[in-house]
């Protein structure tokens, strides 16, 4: 075994700098918190717990801007996942997590363990995970490495979720060169819970046991938390060795064992938490901190996969598929019996103690004895400099870009073949979207919808992020992201309830990046307030950059909604011929950051128009009321490619065409003004619908036929649905097959 440095050597040689702990932090810990020099193990614990990944020390001041309360909110940020009341004694539980860095290094395992981690967060609350969604942003597909990354990432998400038997019901996949070296892989898990079974990450009660359950500990991903708080440098590939390997079979057993415990024997349990980033140290210290307790652990008792692990390695290992429990004294054997049935380790590794210290023993020696709060609460917040990005000022000085559509039919077809717009079925069909037979709407529509067994209700869920808009204007882009998510939920006939987020940004030490973070959170927070969708959980992923080039600021909004009556569920696709077609929401000249701009110009520039959130919320609610009254046949939100793409996509499902006539120009046909829907309404409800939506809905024409007949102010086309559908379906398979 390598000889560990003495406290004095640590002070002298400063190894903590490589673990992302600054000299200022080290000195503060020594002088103000411990009043002595920390030893090797302690220094390691501090560096992990004080990393951005565990402490949010950089982003915390910004995260405080989020609204987190509401009448339905049972648990906001700070626990494994957010919990939202949906009536009948039930709650929906959800959270999203980023796994960008591990995915860039080893895409299959990076994505798989991303899914595994977020599932544990949800079942640590006592909820059964019922669905997974993803949000993927990759480089362009003309690059062989990107195609490999994408294939492996998708295989990893499917490999884990399919084996667990949790359907993947939705998500998004977009492409832009900015993500080439640093793809974004976010996963969201949604669970259902009987409110009475809700658990927390809590450890208290002197003498109660700390139990370790699940897989054994190996040297996996030591320093994964600090790894996630570093940026990439293509010259230092070898440092990227922190990826863990997932075992979904083990996690399936762990899930069933934990749910048996929380649903049938909650009275034996004080608290439960996933061992995620920074493994045992984060879960145990956070649980003790939450319970305002002391804790003593004997590391010799931790089930270990490899011989000769140091205390530091045991505490910081990020081996997957493990949970930490606080069990009432006297019930240790009862708990062990449950895990025995599933052939899982369940071992008492320590106890709750009087006082407030965090004590670790290893090979008979005390290797750590520090206040619990020094790991969890005393973290120094890091002030950040911020500065408005120069490109915003430059863009504002330039005249806005006005697209010119020379050949509408040609532009329409090209638009449908854009990888961000084209059908994602070749990927989504590798996900089991139907297992556990509750999926009412699977991948490919505005939101995934699951029925809630034993009721006639459903939950709708979506993930949305569009870095291009946030890049152009973080605050307006932030608002747009929430509006887009709400549009997706409402398009299914569901009432938006709350959001989770993954905040994916570049290096926050760059003032422009921090400005992006701050202002986009302001925009998200504002929209969440107006749309009445509080933030209940989330995650921050910083340092997303390769060779000093940051990704677009890419916050992902994961929203969940409630379908009160599944009879009034609304689908994307036109259902019948001869229904009236309406465009809900005003169309403006919103081309900055649009798919059209990317396609025609090849780059993203311009300033965004602000949104009237109150107005959008008002007509969203009137539209939802019409849906809940059963007056709407189909609804599809307008996003990339605007009305043009939504019209085409709505026609593909049942191959029902449409005949529309509009004063919009052919450029406006592709405009991406947020807060808009394409809605088909059976003629018997049309008059009432038009009255209720008033100025906010424009009648476009009717569904029917087998082509799209589109007469605009300046041009007209008549294109067969089958031809457009073929273009849309074949684009991605063709790009993925291409050879360099």
């Amino acid at each position: 075994m390598m000889q560990e440095m003495t406290p004095e050597e640590i002070k002298e040689k400063k190894p903590y700098l490589d673990w992302s702990l600054s000299e200022e932090e080290y000195n503060y810990i020594s002088e103000k918190l411990l009043h002595r020099l920390p030893n090797y193990t302690e220094t390691g614990l501090f560096s992990a717990m004080w990393s951005e990944h565990c402490s949010y020390k950089k982003s915390k001041p910004v995260l405080r801007l989020f609204p987190t309360k509401g009448p339905r909110i049972l648990q906001g940020p700070g626990e494994g996942a957010g919990v939202v009341d949906i009536g009948d004694g039930q709650a929906v539980v959800f959270k999203a997590e980023s796994h960008n860095h591990p995915t860039a290094v080893e895409p299959y395992q990076g994505a798989a363990t991303g899914v595994g981690g977020i599932l544990r967060d949800v079942f640590s609350m006592g909820a059964r995970p019922v669905a997974t969604l993803d949000s993927l942003h990759f480089g362009e597909l003309d690059d062989a490495h990107t195609r490999w990354l994408l294939n492996e990432t998708v295989a990893g998400i499917g490999g884990y979720g399919n084996c667990m038997g949790i359907p993947t019901v939705g998500g998004e996949l977009t492409f832009d060169d900015i993500y080439k070296g640093n793809p974004v892989m976010n996963a969201m898990s949604v669970g259902l819970l009987d409110v009475k079974d809700m658990q927390k990450g809590l450890a208290q009660g002197e003498g109660n046991a700390v139990m370790y359950v699940g897989a054994k500990t190996g040297r996996d991903g030591i320093h994964g938390a600090t790894f996630a708080s570093h940026s990439f440098d293509s010259e230092h590939e070898s440092q990227r060795s922190a990826v863990q390997v997932g075992d979904p079979f083990m996690e399936k057993l762990l899930l069933e064992a934990c749910l048996e415990l929380t649903q049938k024997h909650a009275d034996w349990l004080v608290g439960i938490q996933d061992m995620g980033a920074a493994g045992i140290v984060s879960s145990s210290s956070e649980m003790a901190s939450e319970g305002k307790s002391g804790m003593e652990l004997n590391l010799d008792l931790v089930p270990q996969r490899e011989p000769g692990m140091s205390a530091y390695e045991i505490m910081l290992s990020e081996s997957q598929e493990r949970m930490l429990l606080c069990v009432k004294a006297g019930h240790e054997e009862d708990v062990k019996k449950i895990f025995d049935f599933y052939d899982l380790d369940a071992v008492v590794i320590g106890h709750i103690t009087a006082g407030h210290n965090y004590v670790l023993r290893h090979h008979g020696e005390v290797v750590c004895d520090i206040p619990v709060s020094s790991l969890t609460e005393d973290v120094l917040e890091e002030p950040s400099e911020e500065k408005q990005p120069q490109h915003m000022l430059d863009d504002a000085a330039k005249p806005a870009w006005e697209p010119e559509i020379k050949d509408l039919a040609d532009t329409y077809k090209k638009m449908l073949a854009q990888p961000t717009v084209a059908s994602k079925e070749m990927f989504t069909q590798t996900y089991d979207s139907m297992v556990r037979t509750s999926t009412v709407v699977g991948p490919g529509e505005d939101s995934g919808v699951l029925r809630i067994r034993g009721t006639h209700k459903g939950i709708a869920m979506t993930t949305d992020g569009n870095g291009r808009f946030i890049y152009l204007d973080p605050e307006i882009g932030g608002k747009r992201a929430v509006v887009e998510a709400a549009d997706n939920i409402i398009a299914s006939g569901a009432e938006p309830l709350a959001i989770t987020d993954c905040l994916n940004y570049g290096n926050p030490n760059e003032p422009e990046v921090f400005w992006e973070l701050h202002h986009s959170v302001m925009g998200i927070a504002k929209a969440c307030e107006v749309l009445e969708t509080p933030v209940v959980s989330g995650n921050v992923s910083l340092y997303n950059e390769t060779d000093d080039k940051s990704i677009y600021p890419t916050p992902m909004i994961g929203m969940v909604g409630l379908v009160k009556n599944l009879d009034h569920l609304v689908r994307d696709s036109f259902q019948e011929a001869d229904d009236d077609l309406y465009l809900v929401g005003q169309t403006g000249a919103d081309y900055a950051g649009s798919e059209l701009q990317k396609m025609l110009v090849g780059e993203i520039t311009g300033s965004l128009n602000d949104l009237d959130l109150d107005h959008i919320h008002d007509y969203q609610m009137r539209l939802l009321a019409e849906m809940e009254a059963g007056h709407v046949a189909s609804a599809h939100d307008l996003s990339e490619g605007g009305l043009a793409v939504s019209l085409a996509e709505s026609s593909f499902g049942h191959e029902i065409g449409a005949d529309i006539k509009s004063d919009l120009t052919s450029a406006e046909f592709f405009s991406e003004t947020p807060g808009r829907f394409l809605v088909s309404v059976p003629s018997e409800f049309s008059a009432e619908f038009a009255e209720k939506l008033g100025q906010d809905a424009i009648k476009l024409g009717q569904t029917g036929g087998d082509s799209l007949k589109v007469a605009l102010k300046d041009q007209a086309v008549d294109l067969p649905v089958a031809e457009l559908k073929q273009i849309w379906e074949e684009a991605l398979p063709c790009l993925m097959k291409s050879k360099d």
């Binding site: 069909q429 509750s438 009412v440």
Partner: protein, 224 residues
């Protein structure tokens, strides 16, 4: 008639079979963990889809050594209905209750979609409610669903009328002779890669699988 739904470690479509039988068909059904060794009191046994033992080694290879397997073999030998879908089918072939084997899909990818099947044989206790030659749509969701048997075995299966379902539009996995589901020689053990239990409710968009469960229940009534 009482159904057992076996829960192997890693089974994950157990609830789908259970709910299809219990909630949709109103049948008498109970879960039986594979650690149990008896199926006393049960008249039919259902092996669910999923990833028993993580599909490690080969799909279904480890599950066949569980405690419950001898009781399942006894049920099969006694002529009682034994049904396996997806991973259940893989387990039945690994256990030798059905001929052939299931290989990795030709695409090398997991595939989840709805495919068209032809009912090749409606003269079984599982398919009597269907018409011979009828086309139905059922979901598939697997990575190892390519049916293989050596030429001699394949000929026997075909000649005996053991092929019950065949992929009729596209072959999604490379199965020989487009085989989607087969019985044993006696006809009381059915294994199939498609998931009839995922197609029993209009709310979820498909009811083509319902008659498979009705057929088993009908058979029980006729016998009783």
């Amino acid at each position: 008639m009482k159904f057992a739904v076996i829960q192997f470690p890693g089974s994950n479509c157990d609830i789908d079979l259970y709910e299809a039988l219990h909630t949709v068909c109103g049948a008498d059904v109970a879960y039986v963990p594979s650690k149990e060794s008896s199926l006393d009191g049960f008249d039919a046994v259902m092996l669910p889809g999923g990833f028993s033992y993580g599909d490690y080694l080969r799909a279904g290879a480890i599950a066949r050594f569980t405690n419950i397997m001898p009781a399942i073999v006894d049920m099969a030998n006694a002529g009682k209905p034994v049904f396996g879908t997806c991973n259940g089918f893989q387990i039945l072939t690994e256990a030798g209750l059905l001929p052939g084997a299931l290989k990795r899909n030709d695409s090398l990818k997991f595939v989840c979609k709805t495919v068209e099947l032809e009912v090749e044989n409606n003269n079984t206790i599982f398919t009597s409610e269907y018409q011979k030659g009828e086309k139905i749509n059922l979901p598939i969701a697997h990575a190892d669903g390519s049916f293989y048997a050596d030429p001699e075995t394949l000929k026997q299966i075909e000649d005996n009328g053991q092929v019950v379902f065949r992929y009729s539009k596209e072959n999604p996995n490379g199965s020989l002779n487009n085989i989607a589901g087969i019985t044993n020689e006696r006809g009381n053990v059915l294994g199939m890669m498609p998931h009839p239990e995922r197609a029993v409710e209009a709310l979820l968009g498909n009811t083509d699988g319902l008659r498979l469960f009705k057929s088993i229940l009908d058979h029980a009534e006729v016998k009783a």
